[in-house]
Amino acid sequence: MFGKKRVAVVGAGLTLFRRYMKETGREMCYEAAKMALDSAGLRLKDIESVAYGSAPDAFDGIHMKGENMTDGSGAWRKPFSRVYVGGGTGVFTADAGWWHVASGLFDTCLVVAEEKMSPCQPHPAQAFTTIFDPIMDRPHGTTLIWIFSLEMHRYMHVHGIKKEQIALVSVKNKRNALDHPCAQLGAKITVEDVLNSEIMCWPVQRLDISPTSDGAAAIVLASEDVAKKITDNPVWIDGVGWCIDSTYWTNRDLYYPDYVECAARMAYKMAGIKNPPKEIDVAEPYDPFDYKELHHMEGLLLCKKGEAPKLTEEGVTQRDGDLPINPSGGLLGVGNPIAAAGLMKVCEIFWQLRGEAGKRQVPGDPRTGLAQAWGDLMQYGSVIVMRR
């Protein structure tokens, strides 16, 4: 066991994910946090610390938004920390919550992730342009979609992957999302729909991309002694991992995410996992674009490099396949309020391992699950391994 105490997830909560929500960011934090507390049968006074995560302040349009979200995250007069690593935030916030309890400092930690992207006008894409280096990248009019499409194209080129193969991921995830009560874009689409959708930045087309969203997610963590009093069914966090690569993204070969492998190895070592494809029963890798699910499956060592499209074609990654991937519907189907999306995946693994995922439930009594998020300039990976 790493750390002073074993840590369990004992409750989870989620708001709807939608393009525009009436709630302020704080109110969304409250809704997710309250649902998580209720599901664990806890009151706010039982929470000793709060770990909160959200991605750029520029979306909500509130500088230092961590401070703004505190009371909605249950952090009134409590030890509070905000973590932020772009898209990797959602899973990393859960990792940060783990430190709070595993260190022995706190017996409970409420983990909240929130994103309100709708205030940013005319479109949140505008805020994304400021992540790029002002001297080397911005003068070209660089947008976020450029960098994804450059990576997607490189990945396709190195392994000889076709768009039809990648489109299968979008079809699968949007269909899975039809069974998620919070989903923004659950739909029955076909590979042809994806290939006929508007070309945004070749090879990226509209149906390859997840939407922008408002939403929040929360989980409650407890140390072993406390967890066993709260529930008969705790889900243990057995591995955490995170890793970042250099900012010089143009100096790296984008076909493979080394930093995701690095984070995965850290988490697998902690969890004692030696053969990930055999030992992981269900996985939620980060899928802001459909090719990303494949990219990350390989980075997570769930298959060989270049093999992920084949597994998808063979149905291995369907809910009833040998290695269900993104049974929730992922970001492509449920939505992408950046930080909340990552934590949504942790919630999904929690519900899957407890048999509480309803229509999305993966058969076969899964016992070990994994969630992963990715962020920044093709740079960052965060991983969490959970077990029942």
């Binding site: 525009y20 929500m21 009436k22 709630e23 302020t24 704080r26 109110e27 409250y30 946090a33 309250k34 507390l37 009151r43 706010l44 006074k45 520029a58 349009g61 009371d71 909605g72 249950g74 009134w76 709708s118 205030p119 940013c120 006008q121 005319p122 505008q126 805020a127 400021t130 002002p134 001297i135 911005r138």
Partner: protein, 157 residues
């Protein structure tokens, strides 16, 4: 190697830029109710937490202390007390204002909350902490559902 005594970043080799974005913020579940009440009825309302015995102004959807959802709304009246105040002589960019502006934190009577706003119809020398004030609103047809629907707070006569 350090550069000493540079206070203007334009004196060294630099790259200028700006980060331009517009924002449209929804007011939230509680905020929508609060400002609709000001817009339509010219009244300030608060939200009461029965368990903690607290009345929040501005009202909110949940109690930050016990984390219960709040659904009791109370009309708290438009009067308050000056809790603290300041006299601003310069604007956001450091330029001198034509006339100094008084900003105050006004505790609304009977609540645990308050609003930050301007004080008007009073000389700066006449302002005292503890002074009783009341909201002076724009006429109904000019109100938009914004904090500026209250023009300022002025002394109670």
């Amino acid at each position: 190697m350090t550069l000493e005594k540079i206070s203007d970043p334009r004196e060294i080799q630099h790259w200028p830029g700006h980060m331009e974005t517009d924002y449209i913020y929804t007011l939230g579940i509680a905020g929508e109710r609060f400002f609709q009440e000001i817009k339509k009825n010219g009244k300030i309302i608060g939200a009461k937490c029965k368990r903690c015995g607290i009345v929040y102004v501005p009202p909110r959807m949940y109690c930050e202390r016990c984390f219960e959802k709040l659904d009791e709304w109370v009309n708290v009246g438009n009067r308050g007390t000056v809790y603290t105040y300041t006299l601003a002589h310069i604007d956001l960019n450091g330029n001198k204002l034509k006339e100094p502006t008084i900003y105050a934190m006004i505790k609304i009577d009977g609540t645990n909350g308050g609003l930050v706003h301007k004080l008007g119809d009073v000389d700066p020398e006449g302002v005292k902490i503890g002074m009783k004030v009341e909201a002076f609103l724009k006429p109904k047809e000019k109100r938009e559902g914004s904090i500026n629907d209250i023009r300022y707070f002025k002394p109670v006569k």
